[in-house]
Assembly symmetry: C4
Amino acid sequence: MAQVWAVPGGHVPFGGTGGEPQFTSFDQLCVLNTTDSEAEVLLHFYYEDTEPVGPYRFAVGARRIRHVRVNDLIDPEAVRLDRPYGCVLSSPVPVVVQFLRQDTRLPGTVALTGTMAHPVG
Amino acid sequence: MAQVWAVPGGHVPFGGTGGEPQFTSFDQLCVLNTTDSEAEVLLHFYYEDTEPVGPYRFAVGARRIRHVRVNDLIDPEAVRLDRPYGCVLSSPVPVVVQFLRQDTRLPGTVALTGTMAHPVG
Amino acid sequence: MAQVWAVPGGHVPFGGTGGEPQFTSFDQLCVLNTTDSEAEVLLHFYYEDTEPVGPYRFAVGARRIRHVRVNDLIDPEAVRLDRPYGCVLSSPVPVVVQFLRQDTRLPGTVALTGTMAHPVG
Amino acid sequence: MAQVWAVPGGHVPFGGTGGEPQFTSFDQLCVLNTTDSEAEVLLHFYYEDTEPVGPYRFAVGARRIRHVRVNDLIDPEAVRLDRPYGCVLSSPVPVVVQFLRQDTRLPGTVALTGTMAHPVG
């Protein structure tokens, strides 16, 4: 477990086919909090051509998970589709973070990829 | 190797197409036990909106592997399809754990994704 | 880098479609040896229902990579298709190991999944 | 974070279908630099049958990411399609590196796979 996790390879696919929300294209961060304290996590997004944006905030309850679609993050600003990004998640308690992408840009197809995020500290 | 492993991003796809069992949609936990002792492993599932459920139990023999489909876990309760979850696996001896998802929701297609689980301790 | 790496979730898909060898279904182990010594690596395969089989042997030259399809391993015995396995790779020098699966069981489709192997020691 | 990262399983798919650049087949290295110093990173490519080639160089600004397609690396020489490779990335400051492959060899399909690179030191 760690309190800071990094994902360098973010990129929400542009466009999707099939029914929403189950066949939407998305990037997703999956957070597991096994502790007995609620975790108010902070996210910062890094880009190729501008200063980082954040913090984005969401809570993961004690003994709970939370799967957050990056597409749904809008405060302080929406994460644009088809724009390469990386992100760093910080938590006040140790958590585990996994990254998942679903790509349905092509009709009748689903592509998936993912990896555990990298524990920074 | 480690005795505790975590997977934050579980989600058994809802629905599958093609023949069973080879083309069913599933999430899978793959456990490798290279030790000379049988490992009775314990699984706890974490959810977004309720307390954790477990332990689920299964054995991995000495010098054996075991690939368990999450869909097949029914005791103490079935893991519902299309419900986000995370899980923690605990073993009395050091093991290695890998996570795999097969998604066949769309006719004539297979999507795969996976990652090594995160070693917690 | 490490001298021992583990992959718990092996399973060569049964059957493939499309031209060989580029569209065959396979599991693959990718080894990077950045040292100045040739690495004669040893592989042991673990199964659900029988004792481990090995060693399989192959060499990775100094400052070389080697991508080995599990389907191609035949000595001391062929690794059967559609049979769950795990494997442990041991090297006399530090290397890095990645696992990849290509699944072309369904006509006109390719599914890929992979992960870094787990460094054991 | 680490200053040296390794990817053993590189292989840019040969051929792609669909519009460029979004549906080209590619291997990609995604680098996140959260430090306050620009990172001039060095890449060395390892092959099955010849000495390593490099360094390739590119910069990742302070507090920036960079997603580089291996297909686009041409200096000191182009990385050939359909040729197995491994690579090692070295950075003067700590970074995080993720690997992604997109395979569109078959018409109307996208396959994705990826993993965090392995932190060497």
